[in-house]
Every structure is written in C-alpha cells, then in structure tokens.
Amino acid sequence: MRHPRFVIPLLLLTLIGCAVEESPVQTAAPDLPPSLFLTSPPANARSVAEVKESAALGDEVVIAGQLVGNRQIFVEGAATFILGDHSIEACHPEEGCDTPWDACCTPITERRALSATIQVVGEDGKPLRTSLKGRGALSELKQVVVVGKVSQRSEGVFVVDASGIFVAGGDS
C-alpha cells in the first residue's frame, strides 16, 4: 500500500512538535541595591567572633570574615550566605575534600559558634529572591567585609542585614 506523500512529513512535524517544550515562566529576579558591592574595604572591621560576642540587636556592624563553614554557603534563590570567622580552617582539596569551604575537619558546633548569617533584604525585611553567588565576585572561600545591621540576635542566632559588601580580590 502506498502512503500519501504528506504522511511522513506530517509524522516528523508531529514528533518535532512533541519534542518542543514550553519554556518555564521566568520571574524577574529583583535587582540588588546598586551600592551593595563596595570598591574599597570599610574601616574598623572586626572578626565574626568579636562582633558576635559584643554586638546587640540593631547595632551597625562592620564584620570581616570568609565564606566558609557550611557545605552550602549560599541559599539558592535568596540573597543570603554564611560568613565564617577567619579562624575556621577550610579543608584542602589535596585531603580529598571536594567542598573545602564546608570546613568539615572543624567540629560543627565550633563552626556554628563562629559563623553568622548575612542577608540582603528588600523593603519587606525579607531576603531578596536572588542568589548572591557569583554576584560582585562572591564565591566560596572569598574574604569579605560586610557593613550592616544586626537584625536577629539570640542564643546561637546572628543575622546581619547587609548594606555593603566588600569582596577581597573581587572586581565590583
């Protein structure tokens, strides 16, 4: 039996039609404040350990540290990251660690005591829905200085709403 000539092209078109997926609806990521990334390091920076010890809720702080101390430094989809004290030692890749920034050789309780949560919030006081990873050269193990206000402070909890971030070695 002979098939009409249009059958094969029609089948091909059907297959191609089935293969085309609808692109997901993209919601625009909110813009970060233009002045967020600083070009020079702010003065009077103190270590994470020092700031956590002395700062009170609502205090303006300048806090220096390293993006270290957790397997997941950045929250995907939110302007939040973990800042660790300089004293937290990152693992070395030659030790067989694929994620040296998790500092898995340091006990987790010690890491938590020497870490702070940094977030960039919107007008509603909630973290902006955009990841900071790769923005302003921010990445794991980078040395940074953060200027901001302590927004949560209780036993074991230390959250800073950042207004300025200086990334050492970054091109802001």
């Binding site: 957790n70 995907e76 949560t117 909630k126 036993e155 074991g156 909890v157 959250v159």
Partner: protein, 388 residues
C-alpha cells in the same frame, strides 16, 4: 497467497494434548516469571518515589541528608519551622510533623530470642496531616503513654507472620515491653506501609533520646517554597539544619539504592532469561517434531509463508492463553505481596505496565518458539521431510 485456514491452527492444538499442555504450562510459567520480576522492580522503585503532588519539605540534621535514621536535630526545630509563613494549616493546625525514625527489633513471640529489625516512626497526630497518603483502615491512632501501636499493611511480611497475627488487640514485643496494636494503616506504594507508628514521646523513651530525626512540613504552593525553608536553615545556624524537598530526599535515597536496584534488575533479568530459554526449549521441541507435516503441506501446494503463518497462529494461541492465565495468577497472587529489604519492606506491584511486559514476553516467546523450528523444517528438501 493461498493460506491455511485458521481452523487448521486451532484444530492442531487438540491433536496432541500432552504437547499442548507442555507448551501451555511453559508459556504460563515464563510469563509469570517475567511478571514477578517486573513487579519486584516496579514495587521497589515505587516505594522510593515520593507521593505525587507532594509539597513537603524535610528538615534534617546537617550532614545526615542521605539518611533520616542517622539524623538528629533538636526538639526546638519543630517550633522554629512553624515560623515559616506559607505553611499549610487546617483549622489553625499547621502541617508540621516532628518525627523520630529508628529501626528496632520487634518480636511477635517473647520466647524468640531475637526479633526482626523493623522501621519504627515516632509521630504526633499532626503526622496524619503531613502524610496525607496514610489512611487508618482499622482501629484508631495510638495514644501516648499507653503502649499502643499503629501497624502498616506490609509489616506482617516484614515480621514473617500472617496478617491476622497483627489484628487489633494483638501484642508485639519491643524493647522488652508489650505493645498493643490499636490501629492498622495503609499507605500503598510508600515506605510507610512497612512501618510501625508509635507516639513520638514513647519512641523517644525507648530510644533514650530527647531529640528528633526530622521535621516534615507542608508548604502552600505559591505562598512558600523550598527557598523559604533554606533561608530559615541559614538563619538558624544553631539548629544545624539541612533542608530538602521530600522529592529530593527520595531521589537521594533512590540514588543510594541504585546499586541494589541494578543488582535486583540483573537478577530479575537472569531469572526471566532462564524462564524464556526453558519455555523456548519446550516450544521448539513441540514444533520441530512436525517436519513430516510441513513437508506434506508443501506437497499439497501451500507456500512456505502460509505454513509459517499458520504455525505462528498456533503458537500465539498457546502463548496468549498462557499469558492470560499468568496475568490473572500474577494479579491475584503476587500483587501487594510484601518483600523484605534493608530499609523495611515493599509490596510487589502488578499493574497495567507490568502485565503488558509479561504478556509481551509471552507473545515474544510464542514467536521465538515457533519461528526457528518452522524455518528449519522448511529448509529441508520436501522428499527428506516426508521420509523423516
């Protein structure tokens, strides 16, 4: 093309009852083996899949993302999770379930020195909100402090006892104490079906722990998502939380068990292959003995294609009957049967895809069983075929 009448194929079936019975039993067994193998793989896979349409997130201990049994988080975590805006609620009750997961030896007979390792889940009543797939089919939920249990549908298979042994009012022995079954539950095609649920505080007492394994919460899609949960985990560094969607958790679990599944698949394929070769042997023997008949048909004037088609019809009638019998048997006997494995038990699943695989294998056997011997018979010179 002059074809052989369909009657020829059907009447031939009755010519040798012994041969027919052999082929029928062979094809039934092969199809049953394939159905059993496919239902095993499907059952194991389904038990590691999260329930469809699930918007649950799991808070675990950081570093224990691969195993909820190893995870430990503070009791306080449940209250902290409650601060997420966008949690599902019903009549003001948030969908938050603090849980303890642990495997313990459970004995049905106190005289038996060692019990069987069975997954136990310590829960509060809110667990029934979060795990909407769970249905209490008999009795009621257990009450804390009264040594009561709620038992899943596959636990009898896990413990190796008849299902009636786990009826309401029956007693199980855990940690040297008697626990009365006050309810039966079903959560088909999930790991919960092989679990025993026990009030959270009771399990904490047994396990001598004052913390949780995890907190499971249900989010309202559009109002909250995994990012909200991750922000909370990042803000509450003191709780040392890791968070993932239930789908991600089960995907991780599934990856962990991938080598086991591969091994099971390989074993199932070998079993099915063995069955197919055995069945093939029976079918080939049945058709190869008909050399003279093939020669006669050629002398009468039937073309080779007509003879092949008639033999295939005959073979497919037998294998179809075998496949139907096997399908009915598999569905009636195998569906839901509990199989023990390291993390509990799962039920064999005999559903449409599994039956289709079984029937397909049966029909394939019919084709492979008839075609080579028929072609072999047809290759012989007609004279030689008539003399054989």
């Amino acid at each position: 093309m002059r074809g052989l009448p369909f009657d020829y194929a059907t009447r031939n079936l009755g010519r040798s009852p012994g041969r027919l019975a052999g082929a029928l039993v062979g094809s039934t067994l092969v199809t049953l083996l394939v159905i059993a193998s496919a239902s095993f793989i499907r059952g194991m896979g389904a038990s590691l899949d999260p329930p469809a349409g699930n918007s649950n997130v799991i808070f675990l201990g950081a570093g224990s993302e691969e195993s909820v049994e190893r995870s430990e988080i503070r009791m306080q975590a449940a209250d902290v999770v409650g601060t997420i805006s966008g949690l599902r609620t019903r009549l003001g009750q948030p969908f938050i379930s603090p849980e303890v997961h642990i495997g313990l030896a459970v004995r049905t007979d106190p005289a038996v020195p060692e019990g069987r390792l069975t997954p136990l889940r310590g829960v509060r009543p809110s667990a029934f909100l979060v795990h909407s797939e769970v249905q209490i089919t008999e009795g009621r939920a257990p009450v804390a402090g009264a040594n009561e249990l709620l038992v899943g549908g596959l636990v009898s298979g896990q413990l190796g006892v008849p299902d009636a042994r786990l009826g309401l009012g029956e007693v199980l022995h855990i940690d040297g104490r008697e626990w009365r079954i006050v309810g039966r539950m079903r959560a088909p095609r999930t790991v919960i079906d092989a679990e025993i649920w026990i009030p959270l505080t009771d399990l904490q007492v047994i396990a001598q722990r004052d913390n949780l394994s995890c907190v499971i919460a249900t989010l309202v899609p559009g109002e909250a998502d995994i990012t909200d949960a991750e922000i909370l985990a990042a803000q509450r560094l003191d709780l040392e939380l890791a968070v993932m969607t239930e789908s991600e958790y089960y995907a991780t679990l599934s990856r962990f068990y991938a080598p086991v599944r591969a091994m099971v698949l390989a074993t199932a394929l070998l079993v099915a292959l063995g069955g197919i070769l055995g069945g093939l042997n029976t079918m080939v023997a049945a058709f190869a003995s008909r050399v003279r008949e093939v020669g006669t048909l050629q002398v009468i004037g039937y073309p080779r294609r007509a003879i092949i088609l008639s033999f295939l019809q005959e073979s497919w009638i037998i294998s179809s009957c075998g496949a139907l019998v096997a399908g009915a048997l598999g569905w009636a006997v195998l569906d839901g049967v509990a199989v023990r494995f390291s993390m509990g038990a799962f039920g064999l699943i005999v559903d449409a895809p599994v039956l289709a695989i079984g029937v397909g294998a049966g029909l394939g056997l019919g084709l492979l069983g008839a075609l080579p011997p028929t072609i072999h018979c047809l290759r012989l010179p007609v004279g030689q075929a008539l003399k054989s």
